[in-house]
Amino acid sequence: MKRKGMVLFILSLALALVASACGGGSGGKGGGSGSSDGSYTIAVVPKLVGIPYFNASETGAKKAGEDLGVEVIYTGPTEPDAAQQVKVIEDLISKKVDAIAVAPNDPAALTPVLKKAKDAGILVMDWDTPADQSVVELSVHQIDDQQFGEHLVDKLVELMGDSGEFAIVTGGLSANNLNTWIDYGLKHIEANYPGLKLVTERVPSDEKQQVAYQKTLDLLKAYPNLKGFLGYSTPAPLGIAQAIQEKGLQDQIAVVGTALPTDSGPYLEDGSLDVAALWDPGKLGYLTVYLAKHALEGNKVENGMDVPNVGKIEVKSDGKTVIMGPPTDFLKDNYKNYDF
């Protein structure tokens, strides 16, 4: 029995030593706002780590940290789970960071913990997806949700005309931002394009290209008169496009979606994907860090402010909602200009 105890003890010791060595760099700095060298520690929390979109934001955020001389901690849950995200934020509070910028998986779920952060003197802001506005000091939006939802629909209409059947493939039924864009888009259709007919409820694809591909093949057969597809979440439009490409329907069916330019390349080339609309997630990450530092230094955001490497931002009349800019359309002739 003693032996086992020794072995377990040594194992855990080894583990903890390895852990502290790995985290040594940032662990050493310890807590306290405005640490010894006077630079701020800004934590940026995505919905989850490990997907291309949030990887691109991380690159932007880290670059801003370098350019501006602030320490950026980019961390988040490994799954889009609100519970895990709450944990991450609670631990950041314990670390006594100066600012927390979070892209909430579920806005309501974070309110209590963000309140705690605020009470602890930490600057709280949201990015990518809005959190409870009564708790955040800044809300950084990449685009205006309504504008984006409507833009996607407008692009679809441009391609397929204003009457006909279309289908929606989304990343997941429980993804807030996707649902927001879809809902705005549907309202827009009801008001302005009554000739468009949605054939069935939005179809989830589990954030996986192969599921979107499979579901699109099924949809094409179930509804042979489809003229267009809207794809939400970065893998979905690619899965849809692949199915269209497979069946040689590039000219008959319009596909518009939210996708990254480099991944969309092959499908934009042959027209299976017509328009990929998104924004530069790297810029968003950069902007978030920039604005965090800006606010920590006691400055207010101004409408029309020019942010280096980002451009002119729009600030709404409430003084805290920031819109990075209009959506960018990635098309066959311009997608090569982007590296994300």
Binding site: L8, A19, G23, T75, P112, S174
Partner: protein
Amino acid sequence: MKPIVLKSLAAIKLTGYEKILLGVFACLFALFSLTAPNFLSSVNLQSMMVQMPEFGLIALGLMVVVMTAGIDLSVTYLAALSGIAIAWALVQGWPVPLALAAGAGAALLCGSFNALLIAGTGVSPIVLTLGSMILFEGIALRLTKGGSISGFPESYYLIGGGHIGPIPVPMLIFAVVAVLTAVLLNRTAWGRGVFMIGSNPTASKFSGIPVRSVLIRVYLFSAFMAFLAAIIMTSRYNSAKVDYGSSYLMQGLAAVVLGGTSITGGSGTVKGTVIGVAIFQILSSALNLYSISPHIVNVLMGGILIAVLLVDYLVKMRQRAARLRKAKGSQASSGGNAG
């Protein structure tokens, strides 16, 4: 209050394995206090005490099921569904106690689905709960259309955010439930039944144990634990959604195994599971404080699970070797009979 707590703490006996587990916990705690930034800060201690219960309750439920050589893969979606029921009721304006009853009802309904089918038909728990897991997720999706339900009355936050003294309410709930579970397992016929069914189902059947009724209560217990976890989660997160806590299944199972419960059933203790849960909790908090990539955290958690299994095996081997040596020794001294 204090003397009772201390006396009952003193009365708790720990098995050898549990002593070691507690030792590991203590060492890790000490190490993290020294090296992880702000580990001992009241903020961190508070958040650890608040994060542990929802995970711990699910682990307790899983433990009892695993002790009967079963498993419940549906427990996290069951909790989500229960939370959704509570949330819906609160938003409709029902008073809190009634809303809680709605959640309990939903949980017990789902639990009965599992319980009756498993106990009644003898179907294998892993495949049935695979089906019920998908079913519950589907129902939750159908009810919420993927969105979340929020907008609870202020008084509800007290459950997740309230304190009694320095201890958060969820932790108190967990402590009480843990004690009750231990009592149920050790001092009731049901508890004895749980142990027996896990160790030897056939013998249990023939020794007059009402296997069916015990099993039904086991899965209802797991569902009730899920309900309690749902209360804490909806109160802490201020809303209910289909995918809250979906990561707790794997982690819960790992904590249960770490705590000494045998996956083939028949043994397990509440103390072991509690310590196992605590170890996972401080590990995950400390690793976050070290700013280690969450992916590496996953790797480490998996590695620890395997390491524990390895150590367990090595110890068993040594024990067996020691026993063999003793047996051979006594044989030799008693005249050395062959075979």
